[in-house]
């Protein structure tokens, strides 16, 4: 019986980790729905980007207030994990504060954790106020429907509760308070419990301890169902983020082959395709998630819906329907839909008669984009909504000939006379004489 708590603890821990691992495997499979793209180049530069942008939070501080608050929560999150390690060892071994044996350094460590816990608590309160009281515009855009808003608040409540439990746990830990080292913050909370007898105090401490670790496991498993996956995916996402100038749009290789064939006077139009070529040429552009590449799909899971992209978007600022954040949210929603059906069908994609285009993202949104890259620049974790918009335009134009008529005129002009306007190419040098 003495080992019952250890056993229960190990069971909860194992279940929490197993469930998380299972979802991560699902996530990997769903992201793999995307087309393959080789991003194994320039490892040095990629590690540097990850270190700067994800680890170093370099783009977060473009907005100083939310950036600084985020850094507090981020550092707090990372360092408090050291405390979680102690909790796990204590839980399994049945020890109490096993790291306290390391001497005075332990007090310093816990003291720092406590300071961060209170700072994180304060930062999260400010975040909550910005969302719910100040109602900052980007948190109330049309795509921020009930679930995205609740999801964001849930995470804030989670963090408040976890930080609160950590401090209560320390405040009610009589031996720890008596040690009087590292209780930098909790010594001010301890007096709140001074009228409570020692037995009850111990009971509160144990409850806080258990709820804290169960809460952390719950939080870990909430990630997959929420927008909060960015705390994990920000790292691979910034690693694989584009290294090219932002203005460079990829050249479709399938088109290059066809254009080369068209322009080659020696090409035999009746030649049988080489064996290594696919019998059926792939679709041009994207109308659904499986037409996007895996990085674009990982982008969608990485998005934490902060809305910096949308608030910088010229189309959105002037009242158009386009919102780069919505492009990412729609991509994720559709991907989840396709992914779940696929996993339930032995890994085969099921045709449900729906697609990303029209069922989620409207043509009006796609055509409102000025390709200005403001959204790409604004994203703190290297998400590229523009690449999805461009791939979907490609589908509309090359597969459906469904460009707005003015753009069709522009393209006809380019085809006929080498300029977007109907001027004769032979008049191209007339400006010299005018």
């Amino acid at each position: 019986m003495a080992y019952l708590p250890n056993f229960i603890f190990a069971l909860i821990l194992a279940y929490g980790i197993w469930f998380f691992a299972r979802n991560i495997i699902r996530l990997k499979k769903i992201i793999a729905i995307g087309r393959d793209v080789d991003l194994s180049d320039n490892k040095g530069e990629r590690w540097k980007n990850m270190a700067m942008i994800a680890l170093g939070q370099s783009k977060m501080v473009a907005r100083p207030l939310s950036g600084m608050l985020h850094i507090i929560v981020y550092i707090g999150f990372i360092i408090i994990n050291i405390e979680v390690l102690e909790i796990i060892i204590d839980g399994i071994a049945g020890t109490h504060r096993i790291f306290s044996g390391i001497g005075p350094l332990y007090g310093v460590l816990i003291g720092v954790f406590e300071v961060f816990a209170i700072l994180v608590f304060a930062a999260v309160i400010i975040f909550w106020t910005r969302r719910n009281i100040s109602r900052i515009k980007r948190f109330w855009s049309p795509e921020m429907t009930k679930w995205p808003r609740n999801d964001a608040n849930n995470i804030l409540y989670f963090e408040m509760i976890l930080m609160g439990l950590f401090l209560v746990m320390n405040a009610t830990d009589t031996p720890f308070q008596e040690m009087n080292s590292g209780n930098w913050i909790s010594q001010y909370i301890a007096p709140w419990f001074s009228s409570i007898d020692e037995g009850t105090l111990h009971y509160i401490e144990r409850t806080a301890w258990w709820l804290h670790i169960i809460g952390i496991l719950g939080f870990l498993n909430y990630l997959y169902y929420s927008k909060h996956l960015h705390i994990l995916l920000a790292f691979p996402n910034t690693y694989y983020g584009s290294l090219q100038p932002k203005g460079q749009l990829d050249n479709l290789e399938s088109v290059t082959n066809e254009v080369k064939l068209m322009m080659d006077p020696n090409a035999d139009p009746f030649a049988a395709p080489a064996d290594d070529q696919e019998a059926e040429p792939g679709k041009f552009g994207a109308s659904d998630v499986q037409d996007l590449n895996w990085l674009q799909l990982m982008n969608a899971y990485t998005c934490t819906e902060c809305g910096r992209c949308t608030s910088e978007c010229p189309a959105n600022q002037t009242g158009k329907k386009l919102s780069p954040r919505k492009i990412m949210m729609d991509t994720r929603d559709r991907l989840e839909e396709v992914g779940k059906a696929m996993l339930a069908n032995n890994g085969e994609i099921v045709d449900d008669g729906k697609q990303l285009l029209d069922d989620h993202i409207s043509r009006e949104e796609l055509w409102a984009c000025t390709s200005c890259n403001a959204c790409v620049e604004a994203c703190p974790v290297s998400i590229n909504p523009l690449s999805i918009i461009m791939d979907m335009r490609r589908y509309l134009v090359m597969e459906q000939s469904a460009a707005p008529s003015e753009l069709n005129n522009m393209m006809t002009n380019i085809e006929n006379n080498g300029a977007p306007w109907p001027y004769n190419q032979m008049d191209r040098l007339n400006w010299v004489k005018e």
Binding site: P245, L249, V255, F284, Q317, G319, T370, V397, M398, L429
Partner: protein, 263 residues
């Protein structure tokens, strides 16, 4: 005012068995748009004055394909690109200067993969180089002390990280450069990019160029400087919409340098 300009073509150079030091890629706007043609001429006057041995393709130039590509027509883009690359490579072009950030971006970033490898610079970078080499001098002229704000073209700034070249030129005019709240990497688009130039905007509550013009007006400028023929059109239209065309001019940086020199 001396209006005679020398604009040799690549064909002229070829006929003489010579090659120019740089190809001036004029672009469709620079060739056909009445407002943009003035920018083209101003830049050519500066090239003439600095005695740059440049050439244009003239009737052999064709759209880079940028608006087609951004509209989603990759086929048309690559047809244009490969036709242009064939001509550029046949003339053994090594370096290109252009006054259009869209041509600049496409030639610089999207042509190499298709076989077109050139050193491509924006005209503001080229002018800075001419000044640095002592081939061109800049005077403030009537721009001295003027309040000028610079609108970053997306395809020069964010797209290619060129923020300082146009600003350096404005500073050389002894003008007072005032920045908009949204500038450099945070600059707001003029509304023309991504083929929007060629279509009506989607339904909204405002035009992008009006929004950007309002941001520019906040700096109380006497001149709005641009570095892109499309931005120039959009900002000029914005100024007209605000009925400020009597007080505020929209000028390309090259035009200002040329005007200051009375060219």
């Amino acid at each position: 005012m001396n209006d005679s300009i020398k604009v040799p073509t690549m064909a002229d150079f070829m006929a003489q068995g010579k090659s120019p030091e740089v190809l001036f890629w004029v672009g469709c706007a620079g060739s056909f748009d009445d407002r943009a043609k003035k920018i083209t001429k101003a830049f050519v006057k500066l090239l003439n004055q600095a005695e740059v041995e440049f050439a244009v393709l003239g009737t052999e130039e064709s759209c880079t394909g940028d608006p087609a590509k951004r509209a989603g027509n990759e086929f048309l883009f690559q047809m244009q690109a490969m036709t242009n690359i064939e001509i550029l490579n046949a003339y053994e072009i090594k370096s290109i200067v252009t006054a259009c950030p869209h041509c600049f971006n496409t030639l610089k970033n999207e042509y190499p993969e298709l076989g077109g490898n050139y050193e491509v610079v924006h005209h503001t970078q080229f002018l800075n180089q001419l000044i640095a080499d002592g081939r061109l001098s800049v005077e403030g002229g009537h721009f001295k002390g003027k309040r000028i704000t610079f609108h970053d073209p997306c395809y020069l700034g964010r797209a290619n990280q060129v923020y300082e070249a146009p600003r350096d030129l404005i500073k050389k005019l002894d003008a007072e450069l005032v920045e908009m709240k949204k500038c450099r990497q945070n600059g707001l688009c003029c509304g023309a990019g991504g083929s929007q130039m060629f279509k009506e905007a989607e339904e909204g509550d405002k035009e992008v160029n009006v929004e950007r013009t309002e941001q520019a007006l906040e700096t109380k400028p006497e001149i709005i400087a641009a570095g892109c023929p499309f931005c120039n059109t959009m900002m000029t239209d914005g100024i007209k919409a605000k009925e400020k065309e009597q007080d505020i001019k929209v000028l390309d940086v090259a035009e200002m340098i040329a005007q200051a020199k009375d060219l």
